[in-house]
Symmetry: C2
Subunit: 111 residues, 2 copies
Amino acid sequence: MKRTLETIDYHEDTEEMAMFAKALGHPTRIAILRHLEKSCSCFTGEIVDIFPLAQSTISQHLKELKNAGLIKGELNPPKVKYCIDNDNWNKAKSLFCDFFDINERNTSCSV
Amino acid sequence: MKRTLETIDYHEDTEEMAMFAKALGHPTRIAILRHLEKSCSCFTGEIVDIFPLAQSTISQHLKELKNAGLIKGELNPPKVKYCIDNDNWNKAKSLFCDFFDINERNTSCSV
DNA sequence: AATATTTATCGTATATTTGCGATGAACAAA
DNA sequence: TTTGTTCATCGCAAATATACGATAAATATT
């Protein structure tokens, strides 16, 4: 990716939003998140069973969602229970709201 | 990217949202869009001048934003004037709102 | 201790993305 | 007609992403 010039410094919000968007930039990851939104939390195995993809592939997607901060995994050996990371989820929500000029109210479903 | 199984069919919303998110998944493209949100429309050259990137690189980013439908370019030879594509912008807005469970009201700034 | 279950990680192959310079196309100005 | 301006596209290189099977780690069960 050759960059002769120094790396660009964007505003923190810009960098952060791009990071979240990148994590959301794959249909499998959107689908995983939708599932976690509904079921609140579930084990890797349940997610694997939803998709016609290898277990290692799903694990990879979960890792990326975790790296972006959108989900977190709770150890429950030998299982791992995943759920939405609400703090970062709300952060992402705010960033997208600002970006799209949305009047953000009633941001949470019933809290 | 070896895929032995048939390609997965996701819900249309899921596919579409992933496509928009992917386009938003780079800080330069976020910054370009923020600029277009402010200035309403501008020529390629003006955008090129903002970033320490080659003209061809910016052109590439503009192409991706155009392919995703988020912007459109109006020929104004030899210049090209870019602006937000409001229809698709609103579509993207809705998808993200649904996804993040946002009560979408007052979606436009003053229309 | 041996086996089964669950999940992450490694190694690999291929595709896509990101960046650049060079070139070409389209038009305006001289 | 020649020259300059503006922008997209081509061709290339390097990095990253996506997918898979195989394997390892961690624990429960037998």
